[in-house]
């Protein structure tokens, strides 16, 4: 069956579709959070070396992973918007940015909380934490640039270019930070790795899925507001049920 993807790339069809999808994503995200927390705190045993503290990784690792992927997805949407001049993809990019930044922040926060009992310091210049911090700066740069340009089209295009340059730079930054870290014999976060208990893995994957669904739901909610705002002069917006 051939699906006409272009049909869904128009704000007119995407807006109601997103509205219908949001509750599903939100509800399944909430259920998975509950399941993940149950497995993570009740089923999974405490770790031999780290005691109970390792349980932070159920939120720390998913938020790190998601913050990195969201940057790439955001850059991808931004690039689509820049190249094919599609309005919706630029809107998606600016809807994803705040969520990505918040996940980066959560990852840093939980990383610090995990570091305190492990190393006795809130902040350690570990390669992964440092890269995460730089990632947060990149998100903030994207948001700040988008916010300081008044003309929405120029804002979209300028921020898109920045996101593309940033995503090309992310691997370079990551490897240089990693290299810098090994040079200075810094400590590197090591998770239980291969010896991870099956329940720990289940908890981690459930939480990861829950976070993904949350990120999708919130990004869709935000993009609906952006669509409303940008297209407020068009006819179809004034005919929407919620506007009347």
């Amino acid at each position: 069956m051939a699906i006409n993807w272009f049909k869904y790339s128009a704000p007119t069809t995407f807006y109601p579709l997103a509205g219908k999808l949001i509750p599903w994503f939100a509800i399944s995200s909430a259920i998975l959070f509950a399941v993940g927390l149950y497995i993570g705190f009740v089923v999974a045993p405490s770790d031999a070396t780290q005691g109970e503290f390792y349980r932070i990784i159920f939120i720390h690792v998913p938020s790190s992973i998601i913050s990195m992927f969201l940057y790439l997805i955001m850059a991808g949407y931004a690039a689509l918007g820049l190249i094919f001049n599609t309005r919706l993809s630029s809107m998606m990019a600016s809807a994803i940015a705040p969520t990505g930044a918040l996940f980066a922040f959560i990852s840093l926060w939980t990383g610090a909380l995990w570091g305190k009992p492990m190393w006795g310091a809130w902040w350690v210049w570990d390669a992964r934490l440092t890269s995460e911090l730089i990632l947060l700066f990149l998100y903030l740069g994207f948001i700040a640039l988008h916010a300081s340009i008044d003309d929405p089209r120029r804002a979209d295009r300028a921020a898109a270019l920045l996101a593309i340059v940033g995503s090309v730079n992310v691997p370079i930054i990551y490897f240089s930070v990693k290299w810098w870290n090994t040079l200075h014999q810094g400590s590197t976060i090591k998770y239980s790795g291969t010896s991870m208990h099956i329940a720990m893995q289940q908890a981690m994957f459930t939480m990861l899925a829950a976070c993904w669904l949350y990120a999708i739901a919130i990004a869709l909610m935000r993009v609906r507001s952006i669509i409303l705002e940008r297209e407020k002069n068009t006819k179809w917006i004034t005919e929407l049920a919620e506007v009347k």
Partner: protein, 55 residues
């Protein structure tokens, strides 16, 4: 040092209050902000529509 000892004695509370609660508060704030934004935008759109209908 008080915190260090307390932390070792109550690891689960430390984890819960320190990371999970913070994460969920952040999520809640984000959701509230998005809902608020939608309300404001809808209001604006309605105002625009009424203004154009009066013309």
């Amino acid at each position: 040092m008080g915190l260090d000892i307390w932390m070792r004695e109550n690891p689960l509370t430390y984890i819960w209050v320190g990371s999970y609660a913070v994460a969920f508060i952040i999520f809640a704030v984000e959701i509230a902000m998005v809902i608020h934004k939608r309300k404001i935008t809808l209001q604006q759109v309605r105002l625009m529509r009424e203004a154009s209908e009066e013309e």
